[in-house]
């Protein structure tokens, strides 16, 4: 642990509990004030037409709570996979020098596995998008 110097107390670069608490409090207060002001100043005059979903000026037909087709789900899953990959690569990049070649090899292995996964879903047609008929 490093000693906390007075001059560093509110620095955002030096780690410290006090500055974290101050910052969190400030964030909470600002968000709360903004939410309150917009809720209070924003005049709410609901009526049945205003609360109805907007659909090009026509009263909508049926429900919007449908069972969505699979492609949307697949896209969401693929996004998650490759998004998580990003999170690992960034943290490895930040610590790249200290973990050295061993880290590099492990990371390469990780990326290659994901690349194989990408090639697999590509070959399987998981990235095909658009109307089936055409």
């Amino acid at each position: 642990m490093q000693p906390i110097l007075d001059s560093d107390m509110m620095s955002s670069w030096a780690p410290g509990v006090f500055s974290l608490v101050c910052f969190s409090t400030a964030v909470l207060v600002v968000v709360a004030v903004l939410l309150f002001i917009s809720a209070w100043l924003g005049e709410k005059r609901p009526n049945p037409e205003k609360l109805r979903p907007y659909e090009s000026g026509i009263i909508p037909t049926g429900t919007a709570r449908l069972r969505y087709p699979v492609p949307f789900f697949l896209v969401a899953i693929f996004f998650l996979i490759f998004d998580v990959e990003g999170a690992y690569i960034f943290s490895w990049a930040a610590a790249c020098e200290s973990i050295g070649w061993a880290g590099w090899i492990q990371m390469s292995f990780f990326i290659i596995v994901l690349l194989l996964g990408l090639i697999y879903i590509w070959r399987k047609g998981g990235l095909e998008w658009g109307p089936e008929k055409h």
Binding site: E43, E49, I58, G62, P131, K133
Partner: protein, 795 residues
Amino acid sequence: MGSGKTLAALEPLLRPADAVINWARSRSLWPMFFGLSCCFVEEATVITSRYDIARFGAEVFRPSPRQADLLIVSGTVFKKIAPVVLRLYEQMPEPKWVISMGSCSNTGGMYDVYSVVQGVNQILPVDVYIPGCPPRPEAVLHGLTLLQKKIEETERPSRSVFHLGGGRQGTQAPVLVDGVTKSRDPRGPGMTGTVIRGSSVTPPGFPESRSDLMWTPEPNRIVLGEQEKSLSETLSARFGSSVKTRPTTSDILTLDVDKEQIKPLLRYLKTESPVRFERLDDLTVIDESARRDPSSYPDFTLVYHLLAFDPATRVRIKVPLYGDIPFTETVTDIWPSADWYEREAFDMFGVRFEGHPNLTRILMPPDWEGHPLRKTHPGRATDMAPYTREDAATKQPLDGGFYIRQPEAGELILNVGPHHVSTHGLLRYILSLDGEEITRLKMEIGYHHRGVEKIGERQTWHQFIPYTDRVDYLAGAANNLPYVMAVEQLAGIRVPDRAQCIRVLLSELFRLSNHLVFVGTFAHDLGAMTPTFYCFREREMILDIVELITGGRLHPSWFRIGGTAADLPSGWKEKVDEFVRIFPGKIDEYEALITRNPIIRARTVGVGRISLADAKDWGVSGPNLRACGLAWDLRKQFPYSGYENYDFEVPTAVGGDCFDRYVVRIEEMRQSLSIIRQAAANMPEGRCVTDDYRYVVPKRADMLMDIESLIHHFVNVTRGPKIPGGEAYVCCEIPRGEQGYYVVSDGLGYAYRMRIRSPGFANVQVLPMMADGWSVSDLIAIIGSVDYILPDIDR
């Protein structure tokens, strides 16, 4: 909240708060991206660079009412769309303001007709009225600044904002009630009980019409060619006495056919006859009940216009129908395009077509009573009960489930339109979606039905010209041409060479102007914002030339029967030459931005394809037909107004997809420019209106000089000329395709029947075929590429 004393103490604080809030609000008005008709084109022009509404803080046009606080009601408020307008207004958050833009929205304007609400203030409160038809873009800016001033000077929002009770903000004006707080009388208030002057000689009866006292020569007579004669002989040999050729005609071969023989005849003409009539050009009905001599007419006449591509020729087939509810057989199994035409005939005249798959109303609202184009139906909205806010709240458009019955499990029914940024006007698509793939697509039209065919039966032959401008509000003077040519054809009026050349010049300028809007909006639909601004920049140059020549922008109403309204002004040639010099470089610029853009190619190549056979069968015309590979252009096939003297190509493409429809139009701009160059270089000298003043408005100089011209001027301007009884159908290649006017005269100062064959009606009917199986985003590209416009579809 607190006692009166504290409130009084707060008052000095509230004043500055009012000022701050008003300042902020008035300088950040967010208009809704909402347009009804022609006026919206000028409203949209305000966004572009020359007028730049961003200077007033109002450039953030919002597609959804949720995000907008200003509703600019731009254009005609139709009875069918009024419930939607009211809903959009109700769905806007508060405070909100309303600007009524243009004569139609203000008072109904020139559309005192059964389908139009006579002023939006009968259903919504209005803050500012902008007069004009359409108002210029500067007028929109003026209206906006007036609204800003109104907000700053009269509104006290802070009491409401701080929950103190009271205060004043948003629209405070009352909704008006006809007969109580407003008068729909076109002459203004205080005239109740006095009959409108001239109304005794308007439909359905024309008692003591002075036109009866006027003499005219016989209508124009043409001599049929060898080909028509041999066709006529072949038909009488095959069908005997049930098919009779009219001995005289003003324009094309005309056949009278019995109801029983019509289907065999049409099938023969389409598939077996020596000349194959592959397209059903038009199908309509005439209500004969108000003829001057009813004994020689049936109750109704069904009229087919057919077109043959090779050799290029037309034929008219007339079928007499009898009874109050006349019926005949459907021809949808011969031409699928007859679907909408027959529905229209049913809707407008009450003619039944046996065997039609879906014989329901198409233009009028589902709960409409009567058939508007029957002579017994009132023509003017002011002759009918006023449209009220209660009507707007109750007469809802039909539910989407009515169009898409029993959707598959998991399919979503989605309404795109009538108010939608990408539908290019008031057209409603009802989609059944599996994910984002379109499994079924239905359309509902009629939201923009301005009853112009009915108006044609009450305006004199000259008075009707301004209405033709507004049939396709982006094609301006090009719209006048088929109408004036049809009347000239019927009456045998010769147009001087100079007038013909001026007509060509104007028509081609408007073709460019229309295609520029197409290119801009098409790219915009595909997500490219920039081309719109470039295209509208050059469009303003064209409108400047148009304004110099005609004095108008969108609606010049400048062609006249027998010529044009005036001669070209001095300085026109320099302006045209300058434009012709710089425009080719601009087209290259658009091509660099759009044609070679890989995203646009990926979105459009192969998308929304339609085959040439389908396009012919469904009556598709104009650039959409040429994109399928057929070099068919009326300017080449049936040259009119001197087009045979110009050297130009007919651009075509082969694929019939969205990209081809775009490319054809780009190439057409180059060809149009070449025609403009030739017209300007070879402008003949001479008169701009015929010197036979029987039917035309004489030149003013002559009118001031001799008594003959003065008399003609007086009669033709006030009572209107009498056009000899007969009929003529003339089609022109306007920017969007083939627009035809079928004028029927009963020898009076008004048309007996004014039928408009519009390109959009046929072009849009094929949209479900183009869009089937594509995704929603592809639908937007397809809509943009078809380039339709609503008054042209709904008329």
